[in-house]
Amino acid sequence: MRCVRDGREMDLMVVAADAMRQDAARLQGIAQNLSNALTPGYKKQVASTQPFSAQFDAASAAQQFQRASAPLQQMQLDPTAGTLRVTGSGSDVAIDGEGFFELAHPSGPVYSRRGDFHVDSGGRLVGAQALPVLGAGGEIRLTGEPFGISGNGDVTQGGAVVGKLRVVRLARAELLEPVGGGVYALGGATLEDAAVVPRVRIGYQENSNVDTAREMVGMTETVRHFESLQKLMQGYDEVLEKSIRKLGEF
């Protein structure tokens, strides 16, 4: 079997270089996760590399070769809940269990697990990136009075319920596309019809779900993998050098 890429014969060097690029991208993912180890509501990203055979099969099925400009890695989120941290602030809300808050982004609804809400100067309840939180009946409007949120998502002001937080359930939440600022666009995930009955904890904030120990292990692995590829390339280079020298002796 001959594999041809870029019109060249698939060469060990090319395979190794591709793998090294993938390691570099993996390290970027680890850097992203570790730098967000303390970002509330952050969901860690996991890169899964497609095995070469899968890429090759897909490409030969399509009868064409695709040259990816970047390593073929599938980026996914790990939507598992983070641990909770007590903040004691009545406007910090953490979702107990599954689901996401829905926020109104100019380019469409976005989803977030980040619940450090406050009231903006226009009187709307806003969450991550100061985007309005979508409640059961759209945006939640408040007056300047102090407000409270109860465990079932009721937003109260002056003893009266003025809105209700909505918690939506997403299928395949790992395919959400991060926008930044703790919010995620739908991406490949789909919205399930049935909204979750909100169950929130007041005075708590959800921690980032990054496991630093695991990231460190991943980092060590990546660096060593990279190192072994480097050795491989150096070894192959030596082989080439030797064969060229031997051939030159003729």
Binding site: D23, A24, A25, L27, Q28, G29, I30, A31, Q32, L34, S35, N36, A37, L38, T39, P40, Y42, Q45, Q50, A68, S69, A70, L72, Q73, Q74, M75, G88, S89, D116, H118, V119, D120, S121, G123, A128, Q129, G144, E145, P146, L175, E177, P178, V179, G180, G181, G182, G187, G188, T212, E215, M216, M219, T222, V223, F226, E227, Q230, M233, Q234, D237
Partner: protein, 257 residues
């Protein structure tokens, strides 16, 4: 791989800011009326990799660009109200503020503290900023009473009865956390906090005034120490990433011996 370096650098920068805020909080643990600072983080923008538009079901390709500071705010949670029995000490038991006039004429808002009577006989903060609306106590006042609802009574030497000399007005804000700290227990409203809503002490959630007491700093030592440890470790992990990225770069450079 260079990206890993820069991503990790954002982690170091934000943790540095976090440690600076913690240092300021710890330094002010005994400052009356001090409100602790809080830094909150957010993940920065993501960029898609590859140029082809994404097809449904195609592998998602994106890469984050690190962490940034979402906001640096003051947390206005109430501090403990400590009795001092000094007639000029004033604490606010509630969310409100007292308006004062700063040197440049712009209004600022105070959470109380130790008041003075300035040389014009006006009630002012310890730094000499007169309260707004002005309350003329007079330089010969012997006894000053500030009532919970804001009324100020002064008894002038030779008089038997104290008479009302003014009333302290209160103000509060839609989003108190959006206020900008000016130092010296003074805050300025911002676009985020909205304009001042005026009212009387003890009404509309303004809080009541407590004479002879000061509000203690709301810094909680344990929280700060835990935050400090977390920040230090997060900083450390970013440093490790930088070392790893550097190692990998060195290895790339050594591909050709």
């Amino acid at each position: 791989m260079n990206d890993a370096l820069y991503i990790a650098a954002t982690g170091m920068q934000t943790q540095q800011k976090s440690v600076e805020t913690i240092a300021n909080n710890l330094a002010n643990v005994n400052t009356p009326g001090f409100k602790r600072g809080k830094v909150s983080f957010e993940d920065l923008v993501y960029r898609g990799l590859g140029t082809a538009p994404q097809q449904a079901g195609a592998p998602a390709l994106w890469q984050g660009s690190g962490v940034g500071i979402a906001s640096m705010v003051k947390v206005f949670a109430a501090g403990e109200i400590k009795k001092t029995d000094q007639p000029l000490d004033l604490a606010i038991d509630g969310a409100g503020f007292v308006e004062v006039m700063t040197a440049d004429g712009t209004p600022a808002f105070s959470r109380g503290g130790t008041l003075t009577v300035d040389r014009d006989g006006m009630l002012a903060t310890a730094e000499g900023y007169a309260l707004k609306p002005g309350i003329h106590v007079g330089l010969d006042a012997e006894q000053l009473t500030i009532q919970a609802d804001g009324r100020v009574l002064a008894r002038v030497a030779g008089q038997k009865e104290a008479s009302e000399v003014g009333r302290i007005e209160m103000a509060r804000f839609a989003d108190t956390d959006g206020m900008v700290a000016l130092g010296a227990n003074l805050y300025r409203p911002s676009e985020k906090s909205g304009d001042a809503i005026y009212g009387k002490a003890g009404e509309d959630g303004m809080g009541r005034l407590v004479q002879g007491a000061v509000e203690a700093s709301n810094v909680r030592l344990i929280d700060e120490m835990v935050g400090l440890m977390a920040a230090q470790r997060a900083y450390e992990s970013s440093v490790k990433v930088i070392q790893a990225a550097d190692e990998m770069l060195a290895m790339s450079n050594n591909l050709r011996k």
